[in-house]
C-alpha cells in the first residue's frame, strides 16, 4: 500500500498520458474515420456519389487493415511512424498508430450508421434542389447523429484498451504503468489502482456518450 502512495504522482502522470494519447487518437482517428466512412457511404451503389471503383478500393483497404490485431499493427506500422514523425517510439508514435488503426475501425461504424438514414429523407432533400455536399452535411450526418455518438463512444473505449499496449513501443499511460509498477513488481494493488482508474474513465465517457446520444435522439 505504501508503494502505491509513493507511486501516486506517477499514477496521475500515467492517467494524464492515457487521456492525452486516447484523446488525440480519437480526434485524428475520428476525423480520418469520418472521412473514410463518408467516402464508403457516398460512393456505394445507389448513393449520392456512387462510384464502383472508388468504393471498391476503399472497401478493400478497410477490409485488409481493420482485422489486423493491434499489437501486430503497432509493430508493422512502426517504420511508417518513423518515416512520418521522425521517431518510431514514444507517445507520439503510439498516437500516430492508434489514429491510423482507429481510422479503419471508425470508418465502418460511420458507414453503417449512415446507411440507416432512410433513402426517402435524402430524396426529399434532393427534391427541393439541395446539392449533394449540402445533403451530406445538413441531412445525412445530422440524421445519423445519435448512433454516431454511440459509435464514437464505443471507439473511445476501444482506444483506451488499445492504448494499454503503448509500453511496447516506449509509450506511457495506465497500461504501461500497470505492467511496469504492478505486474513486474508483483504488486497487485498498483495494477488494480490503474485498472480502477481505467474503469472510471470508461464509465464517465460512456455516461457522457449516452447522454449526448439521448440528447441527439431526444429520447
Amino acid at each position: 500500500m505504501n508503494e502505491l502512495i509513493d507511486l501516486l504522482p506517477k499514477l496521475w502522470q500515467a492517467t494524464f498520458e492515457t487521456l492525452y494519447i486516447v484523446g488525440l487518437s480519437l480526434l485524428f482517428g475520428g476525423v480520418g474515420g469520418l472521412v473514410l466512412g463518408l467516402g464508403l457511404y457516398v460512393t456505394r451503389r445507389g448513393n449520392l456519389y456512387q462510384n464502383r471503383v472508388v468504393f471498391g478500393v476503399l472497401n478493400v483497404l478497410v477490409n485488409v487493415f481493420r482485422p489486423i490485431p493491434f499489437i501486430i499493427f503497432l509493430a508493422a506500422a512502426q517504420p511508417l511512424a518513423r518515416a512520418v514523425l521522425g521517431v518510431g517510439i514514444g507517445n507520439n508514435a503510439i498516437i500516430f498508430t492508434l489514429s491510423l488503426a482507429a481510422t479503419f475501425g471508425v470508418s465502418r461504424i460511420v458507414e453503417q450508421n449512415l446507411l440507416t438514414v432512410q433513402p426517402g429523407v435524402i430524396e426529399a432533400a434532393r427534391s427541393v434542389g439541395a446539392g449533394r455536399l449540402r445533403i451530406v452535411s445538413t441531412i445525412v450526418v445530422p440524421e445519423a447523429l445519435g448512433p454516431l455518438i454511440l459509435g464514437y463512444t464505443f471507439i473511445f473505449v476501444a482506444l483506451v484498451d488499445m492504448s494499454a499496449v503503448a509500453g511496447y513501443i516506449g509509450g506511457g499511460g495506465l497500461g504501461n504503468f500497470a505492467i511496469q509498477y504492478g505486474y513486474r513488481q508483483f504488486n497487485p494493488a498498483v495494477t488494480w489502482a490503474a485498472v480502477l482508474i481505467i474503469i472510471i474513465i470508461v464509465q464517465l465517457v460512456q455516461f457522457l456518450g449516452n447522454w449526448l446520444a439521448r440528447k441527439a435522439l431526444r429520447r
Binding site: 427534391s127 434542389g129 440524421e143 447523429l145
Partner: protein, 343 residues
C-alpha cells in the same frame, strides 16, 4: 403550351442480376399537364407511376425522350440547372420523409435555406406556411411528436416553402386513415385553388381522384393506356386494362369472385347496367324489363359521385323466357352500357 410536357419519354433500369432482362419502367409516354390541373395518375402496383413523377423533377433521369417544364427541357440540362428548377417543383411522399433531426420549423425552412433566402424572409415565410397548414403551435416540435396527418401537413408546408408552381404527390394519403385523408385532401385542394399550383397526384384510392383530380391517366406496364376527364375515364373506361383497374376502385361493380358467388345463387343471366349523368334514367330501363315480361332481382350495385357528376352500376339477376330477356336487353343496350357478368 403545357406546364409539364412529356414527349416520348422512356426509362429503363439495368437488369437486377447479370444476364437478366432490363426493366422498362416507362415505355414511350407522351403527356401534357396544363397549368392549374390536378392530374391524377392511377394504375396497378409496378405500373411505373412513381417512376413517372420522379422523372418530372429529374430525381431520375430519362433514358430517352424530352421532359419540358414551362418550356425548358430538363433532360438537356446539367444537374446544377436542374437543381434550380427543382426548387419550383414541390414533392410530398407516402412516408412523409421529414427530417427527423430537425424541428417542424427547420423542416419547412430547409428549401428556403437551399434557395439562399435570408433569416427574416425564412422566418416570415415559415410562419405563413405553418398557419396555412394549421400547425402554428407545433413549430418547435420534432416530427416524431406529430401524428401522421400532422406529418403530412408539415410535408406539404415544406414542399410549398420555395413557392413552387408544381406539386408532385406520390401516394400522399395512403398511410393515413380515412378521416385524416380527407383533411389532407382538403388542404391539397386549397393548394390548387388558392395558389393555382398544378398538382400531379399518384394514387390507388378512389377518394383522392373523386375529391381532387380534374384529369386522370391510367398507367399499365409503363404506358399510359387511357387519359382524360376524370368522369369520362371512370364512368366509361375504353381500354381493357383501364376497365379492369377502374372496376377495382369504383363502387358497384362485382369482382370476379363475387360474380362466382352470385352465379351459385342465381341460375339465370346476370347483367350489369352502367348509368351515367346525362344518360337515360333508371326508370326507362326498368320499364323495358317490365314490358318484355322479364323478372329481375337487384343483386349488386353502387353509385359514385365525382365532383357532382354521378354514375353508377346495378347488377341484376334476370328470370323469365330467354327470348324475352334477349329482347329487353337489346332495347336497353340502345340506351346504356350493358355488361354480361362473368363473360
Amino acid at each position: 403550351m403545357a406546364l409539364i410536357s412529356l414527349t416520348n419519354v422512356s426509362k429503363t433500369y439495368p437488369p437486377a442480376e447479370r444476364g437478366g432482362e432490363r426493366v422498362i419502367a416507362i415505355d414511350d409516354v407522351t403527356l401534357d399537364i396544363e397549368k392549374g390541373d390536378v392530374y391524377g395518375i392511377i394504375g396497378y402496383s409496378g405500373a411505373g407511376k412513381s417512376t413517372l413523377v420522379r422523372l418530372i423533377n429529374a430525381l431520375e433521369r430519362t433514358t430517352s425522350g424530352a421532359i419540358r417544364i414551362d418550356g425548358r427541357d430538363m433532360t438537356a440540362l446539367p444537374e446544377r440547372d436542374v437543381r434550380r428548377i427543382r426548387l419550383g417543383i414541390g414533392m410530398i411522399f407516402q412516408q412523409f420523409n421529414l427530417f427527423n433531426s430537425k424541428t417542424v420549423f427547420n423542416n419547412i425552412a430547409y428549401p428556403l435555406r437551399v434557395a439562399g433566402a435570408d433569416k427574416k424572409t425564412i422566418a416570415s415565410r415559415v410562419d405563413e406556411l405553418l398557419s396555412f397548414v394549421g400547425l402554428t403551435d407545433k413549430a418547435r416540435n420534432y416530427p416524431e411528436q406529430l401524428s401522421g396527418g400532422q406529418k403530412q401537413r408539415v410535408g406539404i408546408a415544406r414542399a410549398l416553402a420555395a413557392s413552387p408552381s408544381i406539386l408532385l404527390a406520390d401516394e400522399a394519403t395512403s398511410a393515413l386513415d380515412p378521416e385524416t385523408t380527407s383533411e389532407v385532401l382538403a388542404l391539397l385542394k386549397r393548394v390548387n385553388t388558392e395558389f393555382g399550383i398544378t398538382i400531379v397526384v399518384i394514387t390507388h384510392e378512389m377518394d383522392v381522384i373523386q375529391t381532387l383530380a380534374t384529369k386522370v391517366a391510367v398507367m399499365d406496364a409503363g404506358r399510359i393506356v387511357e387519359r382524360g376527364d376524370v368522369f369520362e375515364v371512370f364512368s366509361n373506361p375504353q381500354q381493357a386494362s383501364s376497365k379492369r383497374f377502374v372496376s377495382t376502385v369504383v363502387q358497384g361493380v362485382p369482382s370476379r369472385d363475387e360474380v362466382l358467388t352470385l352465379r351459385q345463387r342465381h341460375r339465370g343471366r346476370i347483367v350489369t347496367f352502367s348509368f351515367r349523368d346525362g344518360d337515360v334514367s333508371q326508370s326507362v330501363v326498368f320499364a323495358e324489363l317490365a314490358r318484355a315480361n322479364v323478372g329481375f332481382e337487384i343483386v349488386y350495385g353502387g353509385i359514385n359521385d365525382i365532383q357532382g357528376q354521378v354514375f353508377g352500376h346495378l347488377t341484376l339477376a334476370l328470370s323469365g323466357a330467354a327470348t324475352n330477356q334477349e329482347e329487353a336487353l337489346t332495347n336497353i343496350r340502345s340506351h346504356i352500357t350493358v355488361t354480361e357478368a362473368g363473360l
